[in-house]
Symmetry: C2
Subunit: 216 residues, 2 copies
């Protein structure tokens, strides 16, 4: 609503706390202290308390945090108290595996549409593999379908050369959140949010660490 400049890292950590809390809630843990939770998430407990206090006072002094309440609070902060509807653009191998990736479902993210420049090429395979035949539509229907199905996040899994184009179409369709899986730098206008998942950047990081820090 009105939280100023919260750092990216804080949000990432909230996400981690949240996933861990989900796990222990199932085991019926009622209360947890910042140091216990921090240890499990491999962060400093001061940090954890600070992260939470950007958004409110969720704990009880002398006691800790009620797991259920904290879950509700973080859920609200992160915007996970509702469902997010997503579309995948580009149904190659990666796009397909995202369609099949049902871990999203548990996490408030739902893929409600799939697009490709050549739906016929991929449609057989998709229907055969996935229980419910997800229809793969032609890219030229993104505008229309995005509105109809209230899509808010687009996952780009086209070939790299098509990524910017896919982003442009999503922007035109007013899809405000874009997650780019292709190894290309793309841009979106003000008011839109872009995040990238670059496999090779992470691998480069590993390569660097393996060649340098380790054999000291």
């Amino acid at each position: 609503m009105k939280h100023p400049k919260i750092s990216e890292s804080t949000i990432r950590r909230l996400s981690r706390y949240y996933r861990y809390l989900e796990q222990i809630e199932e085991k019926e843990v009622r209360v947890i202290s910042s140091s216990q939770l921090a240890a499990k998430c491999l962060v400093n407990s001061n940090q954890l308390r600070k992260d939470l206090n950007f958004f409110g006072e969720f704990g009880t002094r002398g006691l800790g945090y009620h797991v259920k309440d904290l879950l509700t609070d973080i859920r609200r902060v992160l915007g996970l108290d509702r469902e997010w509807r997503m579309a995948v653009i580009g149904i190659g191998d990666l796009g397909f595996s995202l369609l099949a990736y049902n871990d999203f479902l548990k996490q408030n993210y739902k893929i409600v549409a799939a697009f490709d420049v050549d739906p016929l090429r991929v449609i057989g395979r998709v229907s055969e593999k996935l229980g419910k035949p997800v229809e793969v539509l032609h890219n030229n229907r993104i505008q229309e379908v995005a509105r109809e199905r209230k899509i808010e996040i687009g996952l780009i899994t086209t070939p790299p050369s098509e990524a910017q184009n896919a982003a442009d179409i999503l922007v035109e369709a007013k899809v405000k959140g874009i997650l780019n899986f292709t190894p290309t730098q793309i841009t979106v206008p003000e008011g839109y949010v872009l995040r990238n998942i670059f496999f090779t950047t992470v691998l480069d990081n590993l390569a660097y660490l393996l060649s340098n820090s380790l054999n000291k």
Copy 2:
């Protein structure tokens, strides 16, 4: 070799500079200034020069950087002046799409082995789809094969509940670099390097930004 505490972000940016330089090298651009390159990579030019100067003086005052030379230099810094041999553990949809993901090939990363707890279940599909039939081996051969094929990086794409186990096996096989694609926090001993690619963490970030910063 002997570079002290270089920040993670510096390495990520080097990776970005590198990928962009590769592109313009093909277009036969000879020289580029820090401000031109920085603009393309969406960073501050002071930052770029600082990033590079952690590792040496690669530019020419009054001129800029020779693209070819800079590529060679960054390549050496990141450890991309050689091939990195990788294995995929867990051949579900995601693991399969990594096998098929040939962007790795262009980037010095090569998948040379694939493992699963049930190779027979997946082997037909893999051979049929990929040109060269990549053999999928049983997990119990990881030790042996990792040594034979000099595997240095393991990609974990098992079900989440198996991720830690997969990591343990890789560690036992002395595979020093581990890239975890499952949405689970895992740990590795000192001397090993772990990086995670958590789809949902990035989505949570989008969800947060979409619900908060935008509609101000």
